[in-house]
Amino acid sequence: MSAASGASGLPSPAGSAGMPAAASASRVPAAARAARLPSSARSTGVSSSAGSARVSAPAGPARLSAASPAVPRLTSLPHPATAMSNATAMPNATAMSGIAALPRPAPVLSVKRPAAKYFVSLPVDFLLIGGFSVVLFLVLPHLLDGSRTARVIQLGMWLTWVGNWPHFSATSHRLYGTRAHLKQYPFTAVAAPLLVALGAAGSFAAPAVVAPYFVKLLLLWSPFHYSGQTFGISQLYARRAGHRPTGLERSFLMAFIYGTFIARTLLFEASPTGSQYYGIAYPGFGVPQVLPAAANVLTYASGAVFLLLLARTCVRERKLPPLMYLLPAATQYVWFYVAGARPGFAEFVPFFHGLQYLVIAWAMNLSGKALDQKAPATPRFALNESAKWYAINVAGGAALFYVLPLIAADATGAPKALATGIVLAAVQIHHFFVDGVIWKLKSQTVASPLLVNIQELVHSEPVRAVPQGVAA
């Protein structure tokens, strides 16, 4: 089940992050934008000089050298090291390669404070990014004995309205919300909905032939998509903490995260029986029995090697491993591996996944809005913008997941359950497709205010640009 989905046997969520700042910010002169950035976003340094922008990283944990290892390709989240509005300010820079890949930094701006480690603060970030779900997992057996009772299902459903559905809406809002994004991603804006609509139309026309496989695609893509988000967030916090994982460390972390998805999915796919999704019976693959066990071993082995490599780095650099770097992977492990023992908990996983996404998308949306206005962001401004953004996404989520299936059932004459299953699959596949595109840091116009700290953003004053060497 993702969002409103419900594949039995597997958590099948969805989501990622996104931010509309790039295009809107491009209307503001780069220097002016940089001057209004909070320290966390500025810490990587942004400047523009006749189109040849360069970045200067301050001394301290956020500093990234030109010799840093190549930045990974994130499935769903942009690279965290790219400063807000970096890409728009740097027409010659490849956003994905970010700061680390720029050959010869020629700093113009310096800042006094290092990058913020958190979007808000350690406790808030910890709870929203996964800590809350882990805590719930631990206390749930004492509250509701951990079983999937009607009460739990109902509670999960309500949380879906306010947490999971809005996160789907946030993706569409970002892509279709501005003309600039439509121009930036013409294929995604047109091809993705067209393909998905074709799949949905085929499912309505031949429910016994196409719909089971349409649903199957959804249920494979969904946990894959979760894994992409998990990996992206862990990399984001690594950069925020100034932790530079080696290529090997990153690979093993990725193997562990994707391994949790593959091992768990294979366990289900060992049976050809399949299950049902809104009454649509879909088949299993029927893979050999040995595969789930092998994937399990590989997943644990990857996790162990990753921890060893991390420990080695931490010992060498004499520092503790960053908690928020480990949290996303640990959270996914709980969601995918351990949650199976408590079916009641699985009902809440889509909510927590949506929460992860929303906190990042919210921070990025707010920082984008802050860039667009001429004056510094005030608490009232932040509150208004946040409330407006959230309200739009709650309404959008309800429209996508509640109203649209009703309209589809009415228009096609299909049974409501079938129409709901097909439309929900379509909405989610569209989300996965679009999300995999719009967050790419390779895009020169995708600015990534991922190092923003909301408290600093809201309280920041316009900052004086300081020539290199003058700053402390």
Binding site: A208, F268, G286
Partner: protein, 309 residues
């Protein structure tokens, strides 16, 4: 130490649960006779009802309606049998609570079928496992095992099936009976396995499926499947032609995106085509699964801007 103790206890419990009842149940089928041993200690309610139903003749003229090689052979529900149930027989059928127990789903065990969302909905339909299925452990009731008649299973598996894994001829249980003990069973004449009368030979299965008399040919699902696959292939062809015609008028970024659209459509068609085949060939299923995951990863390149030199 504690783990070893726990393991030993689990083994002991499983051994106790596997202690069979003295009675045996014989299913006389159109492919030969099968003998089932039952586990009353593992699933007391299920065994009690099963024995009562067999004695009352409820399982007579039922049929094996679902054959999934490498997974299960499933008996239809009693309501689906050839001869309608009498009122007295109907009254004997009750919903059974799931009795998960310690027993594992291994080849040959009998496991009660039930509704996916309702663990306590088992009544009369059950499956014979054709290979281990650990994903079912603890979720479905194991209540017995196939004691003899493996060769009968093989004969049933030889019967061609339609797209929905239903045998093309009826694999009927002509009669079921309870035999009071092993000694009584030894005195019985059991019919050996033989080919199911009326079933086309496996080699001729394809031709048989196309014979007008068989329901699968008239199945509109099959036609829709062909149309859908053809439509998908046509879309891939159009994409290719479009890309050739557009030539250098589209950027490499968009050319890659067009290619990936084709890849996604092709992947979906392969899912539709090959997942059912994978049920026969588990390693094909594995390749298909890994391939789909790889394609999802590849889709990350959709509409990616070109790197600057």
């Amino acid at each position: 130490m504690r783990a070893a103790l726990l393991a030993a206890m689990t083994v002991a419990l499983a051994a106790r649960a596997e202690e069979p009842a003295p009675e045996r149940v014989v299913f006389h089928t159109v492919a030969g006779d099968m003998v089932f041993a039952l586990y009353p200690k593992a699933a007391p309610k299920t065994v009690q009802q099963f024995l009562a139903l067999v004695r009352a003749g409820v399982y007579d003229t039922t049929a094996f309606r679902r054959v999934r090689p490498g997974f299960i052979l499933q008996l239809s529900t009693a309501s689906d049998r050839e001869k309608p149930l009498t009122e007295a027989q109907s009254k004997l059928i009750h919903r059974l609570p799931v009795e998960p127990g310690e027993l594992k789903h291994v080849r040959g065990v009998l496991s009660m079928a039930r509704k996916e969302q309702d663990p306590d909905s088992a009544e009369t339909s059950f499956c014979i496992l054709l290979r281990p299925a650990p994903q079912l452990d603890g979720k479905y009731t194991v209540f017995g095992k196939l004691e003899s008649g493996e060769d009968v299973l093989e004969k049933i598996l030889e019967v061609p099936r339609d797209d929905r894994m239903r045998p093309v001829v009826r694999i009927e249980v002509t009669r079921a009976e309870v035999v009071s003990s092993s000694a009584a069973l030894a005195a019985m004449h059991l019919e050996p396995a033989h080919a199911v009368a009326g079933a086309p030979a496996p080699a001729k299965a394809v031709a048989a499926l196309h014979a007008a008399a068989l329901p699968v040919v008239r199945d509109p699902v099959q036609h829709k499947r062909i149309y859908f696959l053809s439509g998908g292939l046509l879309a891939i062809v159009f994409l290719g032609v479009g890309k050739v015609l557009l030539g250098k008028r589209i950027s490499s970024r968009h050319a890659t995106s067009l290619d990936l659209v084709g890849v996604l459509i092709g992947t979906f068609l392969l899912l539709v085509l090959l997942i059912p085949e994978g049920h026969r060939l588990p390693w094909l299923a594995a390749v298909l699964f890994i391939g789909v995951v790889a394609i999802l990863k590849l889709l990350g390149r959709f509409e990616t801007p070109a790197e600057r030199p």
